[in-house]
Symmetry: C2
Subunit: 306 residues, 2 copies
């Protein structure tokens, strides 16, 4: 079980596996290139740089990199870049996607295209994986970035999406706490009603343990679960927090990072390959951690296919 | 302006004002009595202990306290205790209420009684005031404890309630960030729509500045507001975060406390006097901080009445 980003990197370095190829969609962005080549130099990934070659070449020439270590896929528009990136995954040439200098919507439109896309489940979701000094291992938060106000069916898919990621990290039966303000079901509080329904739906599952409604303290702190004499399968030891909606999930991960000294990796999951979606505020370290996480998932996918 | 709990206590000790009287409803609880008498010994409050005298006496006899420093109000039921506590506030004998060993609902039922209660606004709300090492002064979070899923009118009252508390702490025009996942209005995301409406409603207000939708990082971190070139009156310097709903507010304050080393005081506000509502998980320190905050508000109310 991989518990933090240091262990994740160690485990990736140890595994003797083929290098995974990453499709960088609209790669002519210094910060995207720097993140990608940092891992390329470590021998972990091979970048497929998708962009207008005339834009890419000057950037690449200025970088201290091995110019045989990457591929360029020349395209002339954002739509074409997105199409190519998705195609590389569909054809099995690339194991995951990194968004460069392109609007998220333009990229995702190609991902979900019913004919040429790489859909797997009905729902794409966002997973934030957070390492914090206040918890002994990763805390996942989902969904704080994709679905605005998911209904219970979408939440079921969100949980299935995240289960695969946690399993790729070695959590055989990850524990999902479905968040509410307390552990009681209140008919007028939809998140608590959804939580009860999700608990029922996943009760027979061997892939994961899903339980709610739970407040944050009951979900994460064994001492509080004991003090409140909470009877359940989650005893302050949740692996992933299932947010009530995007505001809840987004606020919670930002709070853990900015007010709790946390470090995060973020991915869009639920397609055939993970997608790294860097935002305006992503730091270089966050991009690097997200690449490592995507690589881990991508290797797990490759092993499944063998 | 009072920025943290140390400053709050210092300021309360310095002011030369009459002692405020607190109505402790169902006071026969060791932990409630200990919190109350800690401040009574400091000469800050006079406790009115409302409970069955036969239950109270043995507890009081075992305490190292001045037995002329409190009043006992004998009652024989929870309902009577709640009625009496509310009556003491209504008659001006007590400046605030502390919930002892009684169900919250039983107490609040008397508070909101249209004939014998102490309503002020239509809405009672919960305010958590949090001190965290990651922010230069208090962060308020409202509402994470009372209203499950407030509509925009209720959110307006929630803001008015909290404005009075912040003003009692010396914030002349407190800044309220109405939370969402980002700073854009998305018609399908109700919290962002509410935030826009609240911004409009409060635009002419001199009592407070209200702005949204805002994400947590834009609300609290000046560097992020600058980096994202956010144009607004709140530039990472919000005083109070207005949560989308109870799950959002509850999760956020618990995250700041448990994952961000925060210290909290919590009150029910919006009635004629603040109400301290201790929960199963409140620590002695939290009760003490809540008492200090209630005392500050109670003194401010007394000054207004003079």
């Amino acid at each position: 079980m991989v518990r933090n980003f240091h262990e994740l990197e160690q485990s990736l370095m140890k595994q003797e596996e083929e290098m995974q190829r990453v499709a960088v969609v609209k790669a002519a962005s210094s910060s995207a290139l720097e993140s990608v080549f940092e891992l390329a130099k470590q021998g972990l990934i091979v970048p497929f740089l998708i962009d207008d070659q005339a834009m890419l070449d000057p950037l690449l020439m200025n970088m201290d990199i091995d110019h045989t270590s990457y591929h360029i896929v020349h395209v002339e528009s954002d739509e074409e870049a997105a199409f190519k990136g998705v195609e590389l995954v569909r054809n099995g040439e690339c194991g995951f996607i990194m968004k460069g200098n392109i609007q998220t919507g333009t990229l995702l439109k190609q991902v979900v295209n019913r004919e040429t896309g790489i859909r797997k489940r009905d729902v794409l979701s966002h997973l934030a994986l957070i390492e914090t000094p206040h918890y002994p291992r990763f805390i996942g938060v989902t969904d704080g970035g994709m679905l605005l106000s998911p209904n219970v069916d979408q939440k079921e898919s969100i949980i299935n999406n995240a289960t695969e990621v946690m399993q790729a990290l070695g959590y055989k039966q990850p524990k999902f706490a479905v968040l509410s303000a307390a552990e009681v079901v209140q008919p007028k509080l939809q998140p608590s009603v959804d939580a009860e329904e999700l608990t029922k739906r996943f009760e027979p599952s061997e892939n994961c343990i899903v339980e709610g409604p739970l407040s944050l303290d009951l979900a994460l702190f064994p001492a509080i679960a004991a003090e409140k004499q909470y009877k359940g399968r989650i005893q302050g030891d949740a692996d992933v927090l299932v947010a009530a909606d995007v505001v809840n999930g987004n606020t919670l991960s930002k709070s853990m990072i900015l007010l709790g000294n946390g470090a995060m990796a973020g991915l869009i999951i639920g397609a055939q390959a993970p997608i790294i979606l860097t935002s305006r505020s992503s730091t270089a370290e966050e991009k690097r951690r997200s690449l490592l996480l995507a690589l881990q998932i991508s290797r797990a996918n490759a092993r499944k296919e063998c």
